[in-house]
């Protein structure tokens, strides 16, 4: 069985619009990693 997650999250603004508060979603996983329920996929 397989689960596919699709979600919206902040991405980097175009360079001209960036400021100090700019943030983007980043995955902290790699392909082939084993993950468990509750572990962060990204921040």
């Amino acid at each position: 069985s397989t689960v596919v997650l699709v979600f919206q999250a902040p991405t980097l603004k175009p360079l001209k619009d960036r400021d100090d508060s700019s943030s983007e979603f980043r995955f902290n996983i790699r392909r082939g990693d084993r993950v468990r329920v509750g572990e962060a996929l990204g921040r």
Partner: protein, 350 residues
Amino acid sequence: SSSQGQGSTFLLPGATVATLLMLGALHARRLYDDKKTEEAREKGIELEFQPDVKATFLRMIPLRSISRFWGSLTGIELPIWLRPYVYRAWARAFHSNLEEAALPLDNYASLKEFFVRALKEGTRPIDPDPCCLVSPVDGTILRFGELKGSGAMIEQVKGLSYSVSSLLGASSFLPMIADGDVQEKSSEQQSNLRENSKKSWWRFSLASPKVRDTVSARPTKGLYYCVIYLRPGDYHRIHSPVEWNVLVRRHFAGHLFPLNERATRTIRNLYVENERVVLEGLWEEGFMAIAAIGATNIGSIKLFIEPEFRTNLPRKKLVNSEPPEEQVYEPEGIGKILKKGDEVAAFNMG
């Protein structure tokens, strides 16, 4: 008559031995192929889509019926004395951790019940960081990334992709991607969409005209995806990855092809042809959807937020063009509120 009797005495064991040898050879060949694939993956060689005759043959097999039969078989109540042996054998074969099971092994009446077992409290701590999105399942990361381009495609394997809209269905909430950017919907538009979603399931889609909120001052949003594969020995319950409102459930009746690595390489559009349940809604950053895709052995999906809902039911004929069955959760616009880590669904055997 004596020689005839001797002939059948030799013929039967001979045929059995030959069949076993043949099956053994096929299994050895498969293990060898899998090892080669694993080695190639470790070397960073990207696997390519290779349709084969076996994949075509699979379409002719009644996999849904086989799946339901497997479900009935594994649902048979086992004698109490036998249960620990069966479950330990399963755990050994598929690398499950029996220490984590919430109940003693002899409390699970059947293999099916054991398969969807809950875990002891505290065995899956939820990352407390409010800025993180957590894994909804135990499994292996197959793909992840940001969706870009007008098609919003997810790669199944190199050379073969499927669109998000075909996976999730025509969605009222899925943001539109144009020119590489997600077209943000205003809160008023989202509220209208919630109202409209009950009336028609195809109202907006990725292919629909742009809805551009030119005055929005909100930060730029991207659309991301993550594909996680659950092996037979993995814990098979699905949890909420964030705090969110589940507004719609969509059920696509479909095939139940296997979902292993070999199948992803050889069966076209595997994820959009298989039976699946899509939960869709909104979280604080916008759109959120989870698609739970069934396979031959794990054919049905149980929703804890909708206990009466059933999948993998007998059907006369599968029609791919048929729209999915859709359920809008009450109260409209709020739906079912889930906290990060809440149990949402489970994959059942058969």
